[in-house]
Structures are given as C-alpha cells and as structure tokens.
Amino acid sequence: MVDKSLELFDCGHRACGGCGPALLARLILKGTGENVIVVASTGCMEVFSTPYPETAWKVPWIHSLFENAAAVASGVEASLKHNNRTEKVVCICGDGATFDIGMLCISGAFERGHDITYICYDNEAYMNTGIQRSGATPYDASTTTSPAGRLSTGNSLPKKDLPPQILNAHGASYVATASVAYPMDVMKKVEKAVNTPGACYIQVHTPPCSTGWGGFDGSKTIEIAKQAIECGLWVNYEMENGELTAAKKVRRIPVETYLKAQKRFRHLFKPQAVTEEIAKIQAIADANAKKYGIDIERNE
C-alpha cells in the first residue's frame, strides 16, 4: 500500500478555486506513490500546474503536446522496460485530449499494450481554451462551440462511449470510471491500475469545473459530482479484461436536479422547460442504469 499521506502535488498552482482536476491531481499521486512518471497533455491541468519555473509536480512529469501523450508515455515505458526500471507510467489527460484529438495515439498505445495507466480527467469540455465541446460533452450541454440558440438545444451528440467499448476492443487490461466525489475510490482504482500489467484506463469525472459548467460556485465541486452519480448520468464502474466487475449502485434522483444546478443546461429550463429534451436526458440516465445495473431495488 502506498502512503496516502504523501503530498506529491504542490500548492501554489493556478487552478480556479475549488477545481476538481486540481483535487484529482493530488488524489492520483496518492494512488501511485512517488515511483511514477506522469505524462500530461495540453489542457487546464497542464497550464495551471506548470508555468515555468513553478511546477506543482513533485514527481517526474512531462508534457509534449495536446494529442500525443499516449505515444510519449509509450516511449517512456519502452525506455524504462529496456533499462529494467520500476517507475509506473501514468498519463493524465483531459477529455478533449482523450476523446477527440488523442484518439490516434491512444489507439496505437492500447493496441501495442504498453504497461501504462491512462487517466482521463473528464470535465466534459475543453476548459483550457474556453469551454468548447468535446466528445465527452453530454447531450444538450451548451458550450461555446455547441451553443444553445434559436436552432439548437446545445450539444447535439451524446457523450461518446469511449472507455468501455473502444478501449476494451483494443485489449485494455483494466478499465474503470471514478469521480472526485469519492476520493478514496479514485485512489484505490489508481493504485489498482498502476499495479495491473498492460494498458489500463481510468476516466474520472471532475465535473466541478465550475467555470465551465457554470451556475454554481467552486464550493460545490464535490456536491455536483455526487449528483451526477445519483442521477445516473455518471456511473462508477470497473471492467477487467473486458468484463464488468463492479458498478456503484444508487437510489436514483431525477436528472433535473443535476441539470438545473448548471448554467450549461439553463436553456432547457428557461424561458420554459424543454420537456422533451429533458426526457431524452432522463432516458440516457435510465439506459445507463439498466446497462450497468446500478439501481438499488426497493428491498435492498
């Protein structure tokens, strides 16, 4: 077991107050311990943690570009392997870097099966560049490139189902989702992933990018994250060698509660409620619940 009291992510970084990804950085390093090498993609976390010469990372850290972290990590791993070194290699990348522009390098790295853990911090948009849509942006969320408008109710595509299907298809050893709402769970899964041989993937909901989601202040980071889970729009689960092995059960609340708290969904409620759109989102949560079997039955 790694020492959970280790603080390997330094204070003084420039994240917004209450930033979920900033909290996640701390938690990940608690899960990995200090014998790790972190590979980052361009994005909010990279920017807020490493303005030269003030790095917040007390473990080895490298950033090259937005789209190539998985390939850089492959290279790091190959070098370590060649020299029988023991550091774990962990990518920490945003959802844009993962779902969109990084797909090529990720596909290659997972196919080659490097012994790396790829962690996607999913704040559901490109925050660093000002809240543009990514493949992880949920249906109907208004972002600057999928704005709600006269002809639009926001993002017209569902959140891409990247981890379970795509990465399992590439032969990932371990695939899990987690949320900053449950810090111990994050740490546990990270620890498990870095100790699982082969390419592993963890996607962590770090919703409370209050800046990007809007409508609530930074203090609600964790509260909103919990709501996402409680309404079924986010499911925390684990898959090993392609099989679902665990999923967090909940007594579900309606998606409205979660949506209403956020500015990016405001157009669904103002000037008046767009019921058919809300129903579609509820259907997504219902489908998730069914797929992962997360509903706690009445008598449970």
């Binding site: 420039r14 994240a15 917004c16 107050g17 930033c19 800046t211």
Partner: protein, 167 residues
C-alpha cells in the same frame, strides 16, 4: 463585457477612437487580471501595453497589498479604487485618488457584486473622458430590458456620487 471594453465602447459612442485589450494571461478564475484602454481623437495605432497610464481603475482593492497597481501612473493622473475604506499606501505623488464602494452599490442596485458598470459611472464622473449618455448607450446595447436599466441606474448613481465629491 469587461470594464475596459465598456469604457472603449462608451468612448466610441462619444465619437472618440478607442482600443481596449486585456493583458493576455492564462490565469484561472479568481486570479488578478489586467486590461488596458487607449482613446484618442485620432486612430490609435500603438499596440504595446500601457506603462504610463493617465488613469487607473482598481476593481479589487485587496490587490493593492500584493501588486504595485499605481506603478507608472502619470503625475496629474487619477486612480479610481473600489473599496470600503479609503486609505492606501503607495499612491504616487501628484496623483488624485478617488475611492468608491462600488461593491456595496452594485449589490444594492443589481443584487450582484459585479462592479463593472458602477465603476464606469464613477470613471465617467472622475475623468470627464466619457459622457454618461454614451455609457448608458453602451449599456443599453449590451444588456436588454430590465438588466440594462438596472445597470444604467448603477452607473448613474456612481456617477452622481463621484460628482458630489466622491468617497
């Protein structure tokens, strides 16, 4: 709409050429930011940052402890500071300090601690560089309905306060 853009727009409405730009940073929400405005009767061509302003507006006086906000302010210049109380160190000699409690004012009139419009009203009064009417026009263009009216009311109130002698 930042305060700088608001001044520029109001100036433009007053028939003056203006240019507003932020000090382009990567700061996240919460960190201090800076913006510049130039206005002139002629087209503004210069693109460098402003090192010797005629006026400075400080939206959050707590910064004064950490940052030398008055640096470069020209003698005869005006420093407009949003604050509850009125004493600061480091105000250069020959500079006119005008303070206003824009936050309270904004909370009172807009119901939000957003001080842009309030401060711009004060700025118009303090400097005479932009006309209150132009500012109102700019606000009306930017906001709609009751929001525009509230903002105009805030700007006007601040204008009057400063005209009445400030503080």
């Amino acid at each position: 709409m930042t305060a700088a853009e608001l001044i520029a727009t109001a100036a433009f409405k007053s028939g003056v050429y203006s240019q507003a730009f932020p000090a382009f940073g990567v700061e996240r929400r919460g960190a201090p930011v800076q913006a510049f405005v130039r206005f002139s009767d002629e087209k503004v061509r210069l693109r460098s940052q402003i090192y010797e302003p005629d006026y400075i507006v400080v939206q959050d006086s707590s910064l004064i402890a950490d940052v030398d906000v008055f640096s470069g302010l020209k003698a005869g210049g005006i420093a407009l500071v949003n604050t509850e109380n009125g004493n600061f160190e480091g105000v250069p000699e020959g500079v006119k300090l005008i303070t206003i409690d824009a936050t309270s004012l904004a909370l009172e009139i807009l119901g939000l601690p957003i001080t842009n419009t309030t401060l711009m009203g004060a700025f118009a009064a303090a400097t005479g560089e932009i006309e209150l009417e132009s500012l109102e026009e700019a606000l009306r263009e930017r906001f709609s309905g009751s929001l525009a009216e509230k903002n105009i009311a805030a700007a006007r109130r601040a204008y009057e306060l400063v005209k009445e002698g400030g503080q």
